[in-house]
Symmetry: C2
Subunit: 249 residues, 2 copies
DNA sequence: CGAAAATTTGACGACTCTCAAGTCGAGTGG
DNA sequence: CCACTCGACTTGAGAGTCGTCAAATTTTCG
């Protein structure tokens, strides 16, 4: 089933692993997930959905907007991950009992929630769905590893470019890209917290991307004529997003 | 069942999630895993078990030694994770079809392997085992997130201290710590590749830990009288290792 | 011993931090 | 409409962390 078709058919969960569900998961599995998903709930900018250490009774899927995975360290907020629509936001909490990060909305967002108990029961009846959930957390892990590599090899401007390149591809997988712009609600302080640099330095990095002619970031929105150049500058290679395939088993 | 008892009972797989199997997994599940595990295989220092992009037919568990998860970038080797005995080394490959990192032995190591097909079949019959495997990959994710936080907030010396503090706790969970020393086969270049700094700077960071009186690293072995001081210096908090609990479902 | 690898040291430049100050932009109240 | 305000963004200066080049020293191992 094509990703965009899935997205249109299932309003709440259609973006879940969209583009990666061609094999391995049947339409019935996704319909079962959609049937469990609650009425979408709005989150305000900065609203904290789950605090670290908190136990939760349901799993949340992002429907619209962006969500950050944050941790605190000595009073500073750090960002350890970004979610786009279709992502499960707090699936580890279902298995690990608590979360090691906070889930915070970046800009207005909408989520849908599924109780742990019915989700587990449905996973038991639908092994393909269970595998899809595992797949999605493995994908989180692959993205984490790429971020680690980026910290080890890229400077601030390249890290910012990589973040936008990654989001561009992840949004493409769910059919939500526009050609010349990637709109996000991120402030430069958000970008700094993703890159582990000071807001002042994030500003200089944004300026460098502009000076290099790669793109212009204004209030979180990246405007560019040349995604290829941005990807080359950020050493971006989409293989780690496993965009071309479904689960193997 | 106590972790150390498990370790002694099952020679090959006993360290798998040892210390975290008190609940949620029965002895029979671990015995089933042990029954699938092949005769331990020796790996030489630097030997590559799985290359990135390679498809594999079996999952590997580390029995003895240390293993690195590495990626290449512009000719430089980066380390995105470290495994200790009991860890699955390449479980994502079973679901994702290929691996986004290489699995490389650090020093001599021993592994045991389990074919994907029998493992999947056993997971189907033993849901608790399937959950344990998922749990272990979620734990990988939590460790990845902590590494990301470390890159965002710690300097080179603190990162090295954090690596040793983390390994000390992970080894404690499988009953393999000694009080005053943590022996590893890591060179300073290995530490540099884990921290994203140059080997020369890693050397200075090691020297700083010595000058601060926190500990002495000689040929990968950390000798210290004061683990608490190292943990405080590295902002280490073991909560993210989920050492006190089993899977929730 | 001799070769190879690992570790150590010094010098200089690049990246990034902090402190401080100033500019821009979107709302708000008059 | 304008002045005001607040947050976001921008700029400059000096200091700390880290990279690179080069070279020396120590350790390991055949």
């Amino acid at each position: 089933m094509d990703g965009s078709v899935v997205s249109e058919t299932f309003a709440r969960t259609g973006a879940f692993l969209a583009g990666r569900l061609r094999d391995g998961i049947a339409g019935g599995d996704l319909a079962a997930l959609e049937a469990l998903a609650g009425e979408p709930v709005a989150l305000d900018d900065g609203q904290c959905l789950v605090a670290p250490g908190q136990t939760v009774q349901c799993a949340s899927i992002l429907v619209d907007g962006f969500v950050l995975r944050t941790v605190q360290n000595e009073g500073r907020r750090l960002i350890v991950g970004v979610n786009v629509p279709g992502d499960f936001l707090d699936l580890p909490a279902m298995m690990l009992q608590r979360l090691d990060y906070a889930v915070v909305a970046a800009g207005p967002a909408r989520i849908t929630q599924i109780g742990h108990a019915p989700l587990i029961e449905t996973m038991r009846r639908r092994p393909a769905l269970a595998r899809a959930l595992w797949f999605s957390t493995l994908l989180d892990g692959a993205i984490h590893r790429r971020w680690i590599r980026n910290f080890e090899t890229l400077d601030a401007a390249q890290r910012i470019a990589h973040i936008y390149a990654e989001l561009h591809h992840r949004l493409a997988l769910i059919g939500r890209t526009s050609q010349r712009a990637l709109r996000t609600p991120f402030t430069q302080t958000d970008l700094a917290d993703m890159c582990g640099v000071s807001p002042i330095h994030a500003n200089r990095a944004v300026a460098r991307l502009r000076e290099l002619g790669l793109g212009e970031i204004r209030r979180g929105d990246l405007y560019t004529e040349n995604w290829r150049a941005i990807e080359a500058y950020a050493r971006f290679d989409p293989a780690y997003l496993y965009g071309e395939q479904g689960a193997a088993i």
